[in-house]
Symmetry: C2
Subunit: 190 residues, 2 copies
C-alpha cells in the first residue's frame, strides 16, 4: 500500500497579507452569470476551471484559506485554467512572486447544464458537460506573500468548521475535509 | 500537474458471484458493539480498519459494490488490518483466489470516542483516537470471483445514488463520489 501524501502546514502567522485592487464579479446576478456562461460555451466549448486549496495550521488543526465576498458567500481562490500566476491571491509585483507549488488534484466537479448545480461525476447521459472544475492542493512554503483583492476578505477556516456544513459553505467546499483525509499533515511550528 | 489516476471498470456481468457461510455481526446492538470496542481498545490500543471500494460499471457509469445487511443497512466490504485475504468477499477456496490489487487510499476516518460518530480528520484536542479507518480503491481485473456471505446481499450502487444521500448511506459511503472524483474511469466493455 502506498503511504499517505504529506502536506507541510505552517502557522497563518508565517504569511504576509497585502491588498490589491478590487476583483469585482463580472455578473450582478446568478442569471447573468449563467447567461454569460452560455455565450462563452458557444465560443469556446466546455469551461475548465481550477481552484486552490491553501492550507495553514492553527492550534495543530488544518485550516483552509477562503475568500469571503460580502457577509456570507465564501469561495476558494482560483480561476480559469490560465497561467496560475493569475490566481486571485498572487501579487502583481514581480518582486513578490509566490513560492508555492501546485500539488495533488483532490476533486473534479462537473456542471452538466447551464445551471448552478454541479456533481462530483459526469452524470449518465450527459455527453456535453458545460464546465469541469478541478481542485488542487497547493503546497505553500514557509514564507508567502498573499495579495487580497480589496473587496474580498481572506479567512482561515478550520476543517471541523467546513465538515458537514453544506448550508454555510455549499457542496464543494463542505466536502474538502473528506477529500483531504487521505493526506498526512505535517504541522510545522515556526 | 499530475494526471488523474485511472481505474479500469468492467461490467458487473464480467464477475462471478458465489456464496459462503453467513458472516454474522458479533454484536446485536450498537451499545454492545461500543462496549466490545472499549474492551478491545484496552487490550490492543487504537483499532485500525480498512474498507474496500470495488468498482464496476453499468450504462457507462461507475457503481460501487456494497453489502446489505437486512433491509436497509449497507456497508463496504472490509475488516481489520489483517491480511486482506480475509476480506469479506474473498472465497475460502485456494483455487478461487482474487486477482484484484489494493490501490489508492481515498479517505481516512477517525473515531475520537467510543461512539458511533466518525470524522474525516482527528478532531482538535483528541490525542487518543479510538479507531482509524482507511478506505482503499481496489483495482479489479477482468475476471473475479466473489463469495458473498449467505446473510448478506451484494448490491452495485451507482455513484449518483450515493451522492448527497447521507440519510440512506451514512456520512462515510455517501461522500465516496467526491473522493473518487479525482479518478479517471476507464469503462471497459467486454
Amino acid at each position: 500500500m502506498v503511504t499517505s501524501p504529506v502536506v507541510n502546514t505552517y502557522p497563518l502567522s508565517s504569511y504576509t497579507f497585502g491588498t490589491k485592487e478590487p476583483k469585482m464579479e463580472k455578473d450582478t446576478s446568478v442569471a447573468d452569470r449563467l447567461a454569460r456562461m452560455k455565450v462563452n460555451y458557444m465560443k469556446e466549448g466546455m469551461r475548465t476551471s481550477v481552484e486552490a486549496i491553501l492550507l495553514v495550521q492553527e492550534h495543530n488543526h488544518p485550516h483552509i484559506l477562503l475568500l469571503q465576498i460580502g457577509n456570507t458567500f465564501c469561495k476558494l481562490p482560483g480561476g480559469r485554467l490560465k497561467p496560475w500566476r493569475k490566481c486571485k491571491l498572487a501579487a502583481n509585483s514581480p518582486s513578490l512572486q509566490p513560492n508555492w507549488q501546485i500539488g495533488e488534484c483532490v476533486a473534479t466537479w462537473w456542471r452538466p447544464n447551464f445551471e448552478t448545480i454541479m456533481y462530483p461525476y459526469c452524470p449518465p447521459h450527459i455527453t456535453k458537460p458545460k464546465e469541469c472544475k478541478k481542485l488542487y492542493v497547493i503546497h505553500l512554503s514557509e514564507r508567502e506573500y498573499f495579495a487580497v483583492p480589496k473587496n474580498l476578505k481572506l479567512l482561515a477556516v478550520p476543517l471541523f468548521e467546513l465538515y458537514d456544513n453544506v448550508q454555510r459553505y455549499g457542496p464543494v467546499i463542505s466536502t474538502i475535509p473528506q477529500q483531504l483525509s487521505r493526506f498526512q499533515f505535517n504541522m510545522i511550528h515556526t
